[in-house]
């Protein structure tokens, strides 16, 4: 079995890729995917820790996070569809009616 560190490094990489993606990419759908990547990085850490600590909590939490992530994806995509209908674009740089 691979040691705990390997899983943790992979989870950190997944999480960081997600963070970088959210900051760098300008397409709303790609940003939503990157947020999912962050969540899954955290999920991997939970499962790996749960296995390593021999505790069920970590493995159980992942199910809850998956359910939440699914709900979040549904709402996020609905919002993006709504934006696309109103202005024919999902580019975040063009969504600037309210001054930031």
């Amino acid at each position: 079995m691979a040691p705990l560190e390997h899983y943790l490094i992979l989870s950190a990489v997944l999480f960081s890729l997600g963070v970088v993606g959210v900051v760098v990419r300008r397409n709303a759908i790609v940003v939503i995917l990157c947020i999912e990547l962050m969540m899954n990085g955290a999920n991997l850490a939970f499962v790996a820790y749960g296995r390593y600590l021999d505790s069920m909590a970590g493995q159980m939490i992942v199910f809850f996070v998956m359910a939440v992530a699914a709900a979040e994806a549904a709402i996020g995509l609905a919002i993006v569809v709504l934006i696309y209908r109103n202005r024919e674009s999902t580019d975040l740089d063009e969504i600037n009616l309210l001054k930031l």
């Binding site: 790996a48 939490i61 919002i79």
Partner: protein
């Protein structure tokens, strides 16, 4: 493998069960109603919330009986007070939404259903000592609020607010979740009491992983309470969302997220390391930046958004002070939160009535000019809220600020107190400027719609409740202050 049956105290769960059942009922009922018919829905929602409030106030948080589901659900004094805060916020959100003209053409069932679901999520987040439940509660109310922010579907500003809130909110949840994973890995538990004991017993668990986890959690919760430097989304989202939703968003999530903040911060204890300093800096930045920017705002809705960030800063002062004087700081926070519900919701209610009066639905500062000459009652109510928000006597805002600042002074945070007081002085300028505009300027012309909105009686009820409570909490604070003092028992 033995299965342990968890202890469940159903009576204490009732305040959360009621809004959830109410939400389902409202959604079902809506299917049988004619379009535009909403008074039944409003009344069901109000009855549900009032029943939950009654159960909460009638319950007595008994030590030893508080925890259900192994600490996943916790009804202690702290929870009880925050339930009152959250339920009042929801009641106001329902009342003022019923009076908002912009929301007339929208489906009623979903709005009130989502408000009730969000309420249950906020309550769950405030009532747990389990990291997983904090996350689930946060997501339940966040997902409802993402939808509510874009509830006026045809308005591009609403879409934009919804998207910004969604992207930054779930970005923050990602940070929060990863922080929880790291804390779980370092301590081997997701229960805050167990985390505290393990940190105490086993110094090895206080390593870098724990501190990083705590840091990520501060980022996640900082986004939710709109603290600097994570408040960028707030003004945009608050301006773009329907005013009734903005009012709800500026109070409810703050109460829930600060509750989790207090619980995590206090159970981390000494192991938190330099977290004190980080939160100190965040508190100062939040207050100062928000107050300085608020001065330049010409849109009242946006000004109130910055004002709500500034108030998050004052609440962070209480959070920092809770390290050295737990009881004073916590009761100060609770009292502040309750006063904030009434004064802030009241101010938004006046704003809704003003934008109802105008054809363009404007919420600019100029739209309020001379309000005192043609709507004296409305202007007087707004003046009370503004005085209270700026923290002057004889209103609740003064008592609340006084308690939070004296807790900080008591805890030895002299400079923090000085900066907070200076900030309150700056804030007086932009709050009282609004009063000056209402009373001293001539009313400007412009198309006015004189026909009152059919839901005006709800708005009047909300205004009366808000004004009476703001004044009562300022003039006769002792009984509620006692309640707040009794509610500082954590985890018991």
């Amino acid at each position: 493998m033995d299965i342990v049956h968890p202890t469940i105290h159903w009576g204490y769960l009732l305040p959360v069960i009621l809004p959830v059942c109410g939400a389902v009922l409202v959604l079902m009922w809506d299917a049988f109603l004619a379009k535009g018919e909403r008074s039944v829905i409003v009344i069901i929602t109000l009855v549900t919330l009032a029943a939950a409030l009654g159960v909460t106030l009638g319950a007595r948080a008994l030590p030893g009986l508080a925890a259900s589901f192994g600490g996943m659900y916790l009804f202690d004094g702290f929870t009880q007070f925050l339930y009152v805060v959250i339920l009042f916020a929801s009641i106001f959100a329902v009342l003022i939404a019923a009076a908002q003209r912009e929301l007339d053409e929208t489906p009623a069932g979903e709005y009130y259903g989502l408000i009730l679901f969000a309420t249950s999520g906020m309550m769950l987040m405030a009532a747990t000592r389990n990291l997983l439940m904090i996350f689930v509660g946060l997501e339940v109310f966040s997902l409802s609020l993402y939808v509510l922010a874009g509830y006026l579907r045809s308005r591009p500003e609403g879409n934009e607010a919804s998207l910004k809130y969604f992207l930054l909110g779930s970005f923050a949840s990602g940070f929060l979740l990863y922080g929880m994973a790291l804390i779980y890995g370092a301590t081997g538990s997701v229960d805050l009491i167990e985390i505290a004991t393990r940190l105490h017993e086993n110094p090895a668990s206080r390593g870098a992983a724990f501190l990083m986890g705590l840091g990520f959690m501060v980022v996640g919760l900082g986004f939710k309470v709109a603290a600097a430097p994570f408040y960028m989304w707030t003004p945009d989202v608050y301006e773009g969302a329907p005013t009734a939703v903005t009012a709800f968003m500026s109070v409810g999530p703050k109460a829930a997220a600060f509750a989790a903040f207090f619980r995590v911060f206090l159970s981390a204890g000494d192991a938190g390391g330099s977290l004190d300093t980080v939160l100190w800096v965040m508190a100062v930045l939040t207050m100062s930046l928000a107050n300085l920017v608020a001065i330049w705002q010409t849109c009242v809705k946006r000004m109130l958004a910055y004002s709500s960030i500034a108030h998050a800063g004052y609440l962070m002062v209480a959070l920092v002070a809770s390290r050295s004087s737990v009881e004073l700081a916590t009761s100060g926070f609770l009292y502040y939160m309750l006063v904030y519900v009434f004064m802030n919701m009241g101010a938004f209610c006046v704003l809704i009535l003003i934008s109802n009066m105008r054809e363009d639905g404007g919420t600019k500062l100029d739209n309020l000019a001379g309000l005192a000459s043609f709507r004296p009652g409305l202007a007087a109510a707004m003046a009370v809220f503004m005085v209270s928000l700026s923290g002057l006597p004889p209103t609740g805002g003064f008592v609340a600020k006084f308690h939070v600042f004296s807790a900080a002074l008591n805890g030895g945070y002299v400079w923090l107190t000085v900066i907070a007081v200076l900030n309150s002085v700056v804030a007086v300028y932009y709050y009282l400027r609004l009063v000056v505009v209402m009373y001293m300027r001539e009313p400007e012309g412009g198309a006015m719609s004189s026909a009152p909105h059919p839901g005006w009686s709800y708005a009047v009820a909300a205004l009366v409740l808000a004004v009476a409570s703001t004044l009562q909490l300022g003039i006769f604070p002792s009984s509620v202050l006692d309640f707040a003092h009794r509610s500082t028992v954590f985890f018991n």
